[in-house]
Subunit: 221 residues, 2 copies
């Protein structure tokens, strides 16, 4: 399974990241009652250009009407399909500290097809407390929840020293996607998808441009 598989592989990683943003602005346009958009308008809204938008979409099919643009509703539906957002996904949060608790209650998740189904922690002082309307469970119960309810994505929000061991645990439980907030690169088998959110690195990145005396190359991420 190398080269280009039968599925829509071959789409650059950067394209997938932009697809998420397109989907986001389309949701907004849909709420605003807009019926039709051009690639140029989408590009303006997400800080890219028309050609980029069209090229991104072309990896997955033809969704527009020449001379007219894209149907907001239809394009959004297609993007949701491509991104696998058709069905709701179960996510589990590991770590019931400040960050984990904030994530458990983050309103952006439930509203967008992600169910926070469990919060775990190993600290006896945290276990049993309520987060997001649910009892914080010991990490040992993770395998059971994964088996019985199913966990699509594990969110790691524990201190750095514990992160790798937590990752090993969730992988062993059969979870194959991880969103990692610990400032550490996790080691995992290649079939596991990992996404890192390193908030300190983000600040350091900003610091670099402050030290330069202002002037980023361009807008991104």
């Amino acid at each position: 399974m190398v080269g280009h598989a039968e599925t829509q592989r071959g789409a650059p990683t950067a394209t997938i990241e932009r697809l998420c943003r397109y989907q986001q602005v389309l949701a907004q346009l849909e709420r605003d009652g807009v019926k039709t958009v051009s690639s140029g308008e989408i590009g303006r809204l997400v800080a890219t250009n028309a050609a980029q938008v069209r090229k991104d979409l072309s990896h997955f099919g033809e969704f527009g009407t020449r001379g007219l643009g894209y149907s907001v509703t239809e394009l959004r539906a297609r993007l949701r399909g491509i991104l696998g957002l058709g069905e709701r996904r179960n996510i589990a949060i590991i770590g019931a500290g400040n960050l984990g608790s904030a994530l458990a209650d983050y309103p952006g998740f439930e509203g967008r097809g992600f169910n926070v189904i469990a919060v775990f922690d190993n600290n006896p002082a945290k276990i049993g407390h309520r987060r997001h309307g649910m009892r914080v469970r010991p990490l040992g119960e993770l395998a059971t929840v994964a088996r019985e309810t199913g966990i699509d994505i594990a969110v790691i929000a524990v201190p750095e020293p514990a992160a790798q061991s937590v990752a090993d645990t969730v992988i062993a439980a059969g979870v194959s996607a991880i969103l990692n907030f610990a400032p550490k690169h996790l080691h995992a088998p290649p079939q596991i998808v990992i996404r890192n959110v390193n908030m300190t690195s983000q600040l350091e990145y900003l610091s670099y441009f402050l030290a330069l005396g202002e002037g980023p190359p361009e807008e991104g991420a």
Copy 2:
């Protein structure tokens, strides 16, 4: 001031992001008492390769000793210099909700040269409460704090509808770097550096690979 400036411009954005990670593992190595590292070892620790590490560093000078590698302490000091981490930076957090409060108390900031000097919110119910040992202030006081204490980076942790208006406010107060947690692309003049952390997009990105039936192209971010 186009082309390549007199400073170490010309370093790819991707390089700067990796520099942050190098600095991170070097800090760990220093704590472990390691005196010397090779580019290969650094590469292994941050999931790149030796050539990439050397090329990244070569944008800023020659820091190693041939046949030996790099002095952990010295390389880390140089990286801290390049990233502008020599002096501590003041950060202000806008939004005293769950996320903003968690960020205010995030231990990774203070320990790495970033001072959380103020927390702001516009909700009267939140103002005056304590966060990170300090009183939550009304957003109107931001300009005063910026003038008197200095704010290097503003962290936006408010609901999406308020994000743009908050960004306008902090920019008007003279802050030139923003870390944005709202799921929305902010419009700002080009000399402002913005870094977006869109947690929902991260989940959607993971969802894409779940829908594909597993198998990311490679590790990144």
